[in-house]
């Protein structure tokens, strides 16, 4: 089975038979997630730490059979938002999921940190967000970047909550398709 050709839903299904499916999900969402986190924290080390814990928590949930009810991306970014909020509250990034998975500490190189920093400065993801259709862009920025809840976004945009969810979902799908289709 060629996993790279599967969409997210297909990868989630494939994970039951092949743990390699998670590797494809990681490669697909590493940069978007790091970009999201570096913009919120301004610190590459912190963004990397939060991303590691987010992916570990996602893996931990999947292996226990408690993955997303819907699509993968909003679920993953939801985990990241919770980790970020939790870190705000605690003043530190937790590492419970990584410890549960007995993961080794990951060294961070200067080059990687510079690249993460660059994601926060001027990124292809930002360009991709900016290049989304207007309704999807507004929904993505409001939900993912500004972290408003669906209800307040619906009020602000004067549309139903269901429509906001659809626009966010479509926007993320569009972003993923463009990320996958763009050269390195």
């Amino acid at each position: 089975m060629r996993l790279d050709g599967l969409d997210d839903a297909g990868l989630l299904d494939a994970f039951d038979a092949s743990p390699d499916a998670f590797g494809v999900l990681y490669r697909r969402y590493e940069r978007p997630l790091l970009g999201f986190l570096i913009r919120r924290t301004g610190q590459a080390e912190l963004a990397a730490d939060l991303a590691a814990e987010t992916f570990a928590a996602a893996l931990d949930a999947l292996r226990r059979g408690s993955g997303p009810d819907g699509v993968f991306a909003p679920w993953l970014f939801g985990i990241a938002r919770n980790k970020l909020a939790d870190s705000w509250r605690r003043g530190a990034v937790e590492d419970g999921a990584r410890r549960r998975l007995a993961m080794e500490p990951v060294p961070l190189t200067d080059a990687a940190l510079e690249q993460i920093d660059a994601l926060g400065e001027d990124t292809r993801l930002s360009e991709l967000v900016a290049g989304l259709p207007g309704d999807q862009r507004d929904a993505i920025v409001a939900r993912i970047v500004e972290e408003h809840d669906y209800v307040s976004i619906a009020e602000r945009l004067e549309i139903s909550e269901m429509v906001v969810r659809k626009r966010v979902s479509r926007g993320l799908a569009t972003l993923r398709a463009r990320v996958e289709g763009s050269p390195e």
Binding site: R27, R39, G42, R63, G91, A92, R99, L101, A102, D122
Partner: protein
């Protein structure tokens, strides 16, 4: 497409294979086979560890090579800054390890940007370091001292009274003293379930203020113990054995670790902390919640025109509109406790503003500061302001909306 963090990708994949339900039988088989092979190694490790503990109990322990200093030297003019040479001091506070051997101790360091940082580890002859066990330094059982410039991310700026009040709690860390990168002692080795049973510790340490007179905590024996925090910082250090590999992670903040029940202060005030339950937060306690120094500048002293303009971020693939904000800084920034914060008014944000820029480096008085927001900006008119803010802990992570002294306001129309 290659990943930015290939080591993380590899670790996740290893974890995915190791813990995947479909892989469990094979893993168990490998584990049983591995167990036989590991026996001599485990015996050797136990002998080495016992040897180290026994030697240390008599005041003798073999000294090994120093812990390498991180190759990433911090910028002395950015974030918390770099350790100031000659400021690393090991405090006289000691905590015995449940298995004996070298005590635990903590040290304090000053940084170039005015913060104090703390580290805790094992101590021999007044030097902080780690023991070669739990998978580090080939389990050589020797003591490996930390260099004086090995820094920590657990840093805080002093409050108005010069106090630095903050605590670190590290759960399920190895007895070796290697507590991880967060506290600047990341030497690898085991962690959590990978450590031998009995070799895990919960380590709680920090400063509760020079005016703290007693600290009550839950001991290993189930009874409450009282200690006098060490002057001049009100330092405390508690080390407990743990077998709880589910309760892991670190805590860094003004409130002390989970085993501290009460702190009493010289003026009669006290803070009490109930046993934590998941998801619960401590009730605020004014004696611990120190305020950062009062801003020493007024708006009149800082006032400067703030220029904001739409900024087209160009790239070969097109571009997008963002916002550029510039102003003349009338007050210098030389410490981690002060920054210029740029916010956009945003009625939908929880605090009414969105932080779009935050200075993290030294700034000379009179220099022009220009910050470019990283986000694409929505078309339309935006208003915002620049403030000089004080933060107890370095970085935008701890920015509090509504604080600080106004520099100026701006208005910008984005196409």
């Amino acid at each position: 497409m290659s990943t930015l963090l290939p080591d993380l990708e590899r670790e996740l994949l290893h974890a995915a294979h190791r813990t995947h339900p479909a892989a469990a039988p094979a893993t168990r088989r490998r584990s049983r086979r591995g167990h036989r092979r590991l026996v001599p190694v485990v015996v050797a490790v136990v002998l080495l560890t016992l040897s180290a503990a026994a030697l240390a109990a008599t005041g003798l322990i073999s000294i090994g090579s120093p812990v390498p200093t991180s190759h990433q030297q911090p910028d002395p003019h950015r974030d918390a800054g770099a350790v100031v040479p000659g400021t690393t001091k090991v405090l006289s506070l000691r905590a015995a390890d449940p298995d004996g051997g070298p005590d635990w101790a903590m040290r304090v360091q000053a940084t170039t940007r005015g913060t104090r940082c703390i580290q805790a580890a094992r101590v021999v002859n007044g030097r902080l370091g780690v023991i070669g066990q739990n998978g580090i330094f080939n389990d050589d059982g020797r003591f490996h001292p930390l260099g004086p410039m090995s820094g920590s991310l657990a840093c805080q700026t002093p409050d108005a009274q010069g106090n630095t009040v903050f605590s670190v709690g590290m759960n399920a860390v190895p007895a070796s003293g290697g507590l991880g990168g967060f506290v600047g002692i990341d030497v690898g080795g085991c962690s959590g379930k990978r450590c031998p049973p009995g070799d895990l510790r919960n380590v709680y340490y920090g400063f509760v203020g020079s005016d703290a007179t007693s600290l009550t905590y839950d001991g290993d024996d189930g009874a409450q113990h009282v200690m006098r925090p060490l002057a001049p910082y009100g330092a405390y250090l508690i080390v407990r054995r743990t077998t709880d590999t589910a309760n892991t992670g670190s805590v860094f903040g003004p409130y002390p670790g989970a085993v501290v029940r009460k702190i009493t202060f010289r003026d009669g005030r006290s803070c009490t902390f109930p046993k934590p339950v998941p998801g619960a937060r401590y009730e605020p306690c004014a004696a611990i919640d120190r305020q950062p120094p009062t801003p020493k500048y007024t708006h009149a002293q800082l006032a400067a025109p703030v220029r904001a303009r739409p900024y087209l971020r160009r790239s070969p693939r097109g571009g997008y509109w963002s916002i550029s904000v510039s102003f003349r800084a009338r007050a210098a920034i030389t410490t981690a406790g002060q920054s210029y914060a740029i916010v956009l008014h945003n009625a939908n944000a929880k605090d009414g503003v969105s932080l779009i820029g935050f200075t993290r480096s030294d700034i000379a008085a009179g220099s022009v500061v220009t910050k470019l927001a990283a986000y694409p900006a929505r078309a339309g008119v935006h208003t915002g302001e620049v403030r000089l803010v004080t933060t107890a802990t370095p970085g935008p992570f701890y920015f509090q909306a509504g604080t600080g002294t106004l520099v100026g306001r701006f208005k910008v129309r984005v196409p």
